[in-house]
Symmetry: C2
Subunit: 274 residues, 2 copies
């Protein structure tokens, strides 16, 4: 692992994949691996909040990160306990200000329409109105290229199974926290949870990911307070609109030495010859 990588892919963790016998285009047997999907139900102060499909590594990080990125858990809330039950597929997160026998009440609940998307665009979207990200952090192109080069050199679950997204918290020219998951939003939530549980600050940090830059990942990145989000994939109009509104620097289609800078371009330092 490169210097400072705190958590990385686990392509040798056999709980994350299943051997599959298949046939190829000529009818010949081939041995493959498929990524394992697990259900995890997150409870907050005794109330069921959401069930998510994920690869099953870092359940505590996923739960805490999800609650943070939904703004149900605030950065200064004290977490008094996190209990993961692998057999039941549950995580129970409790905060200091509401530990009652009857379970207390979370500050906000996910309600009504039965879809995480709707939740994102209810309470959470409104809360973005008050966020304007710090304009001072800069990103040197040379640092970005070096970080991506290091990321691409690491063995991944994706190389073994395909079908997983990668999401990496970088600091200047280095990857720091590297998560994989079937859902790009889960990978980002796991980073948010890891940062919170291990006291990792957001100074000089940014996100590189492989998934599309849709509204969902833009919102999570903004709530995490990270001012720069880079992806090797494309983008949606709403993702760009939200990035421009909150002052998030959004870079899409970052492949090799090409990219498209979509918002808040003043943070990017072009320190390489054209």
């Amino acid at each position: 692992m490169p210097e400072k990588l705190l958590v990385g892919p686990e392509p040798d963790n056999a709980s994350l994949y299943t051997p599959i016998e298949a046939l190829n285009q000529d009818g010949e047997p081939v041995a493959l691996w498929a990524v394992t999907e697990k259900l995890l139900t997150i409870f907050f102060n005794g109330k069921e909040v959401v069930t998510t499909m994920n690869i099953g590594d870092h359940p505590e990080c996923l739960a805490v990160g999800f609650l943070l990125n939904q703004r149900m858990l605030e950065p200064d809330d004290e977490i008094v306990s996190i209990r993961h039950d692998a057999e039941d597929g549950t995580v129970f997160v409790r905060t200091g200000d509401s530990v009652h026998v009857d379970g207390g009440e979370p500050k906000k609940r996910i309600h009504t329409s039965g879809c995480a998307v709707a939740t994102m665009f209810g309470d959470v979207l409104e809360s973005l109105d008050n966020i304007r990200l710090d304009p001072t952090p800069k990103l040197k192109i040379s640092d970005l290229y070096n970080a991506v080069l290091t990321i691409k050199g690491l063995p991944t679950l994706h190389q073994k199974t395909g079908s997983v997204h990668r999401c990496v918290l970088c600091e200047e020219n280095r990857p720091i926290i590297y998560m994989e998951d079937v859902g790009r939003h889960n990978a980002l939530d796991k980073i948010a949870g890891y940062m919170r549980l291990h006291g990792i600050g957001r100074e000089n940090k940014y996100i590189y990911c492989t998934g599309r830059l849709t509204s969902e990942v833009v919102i999570k990145t903004v709530i995490m307070g990270l001012p720069i989000l880079v992806s090797r994939s494309g983008f949606s109009a709403m993702g760009i609109e939200l990035a421009r509104k909150t002052g998030l620097t959004l870079i899409g289609r970052c492949r090799g030495r090409t990219f498209q800078l979509l918002s808040a371009p003043e943070r990017v330092v072009y320190d390489l010859p054209a």
Copy 2:
């Protein structure tokens, strides 16, 4: 359009994309398009069911297909009205047996945990226990390759904007219904809705798509009664497990003249030389 293509991509429909001014890796301005995401809230017999993020083309098909694939609407239920309000982003679907002033009650509601994933794995997953797909339909490799070749020759929204999945109902060697969307599940729901609203039967038909073969798309395909699902992308272990349980022929990583046949191989006719 090729013979028999009933509905196809609309790369010239300006409501589906937004012009974006960006900078490239050398700091030069570039003009791009980004796909538009729209929120659509689906009501069934007066009750709010779900809010989905989609590209906004066939809202009636999306609503009816979603309700069918969630088994809230059954194939023989009479639909008495579908009302789409573009300004509000709502679709109201009503069936014959529950049109009351107070809105009636749908047979099942999406409940509890606030996430569409959870719903899929509650009521819907259980209902798969009783489904075993018809083993008799066959798929000739030559037909599959010809259909994919035709599909790849069609102009798409994806070529213009990136960031959309494609999902195609094929009949033997031809595409019939070709939908695009930001979510692969939406594209599949739109096909299910179009089939229902236009009386298209499922005989000799199968799905080709670009998205990953996860449990979600496998479940929808099985509920649609289609016995074969092909993707250019990879797969998850749970997707394969569900396909094997229900007798769905699942083909992943179908690219050029290679693929991986993951379940129910007896439907595939290897009619080309190895």
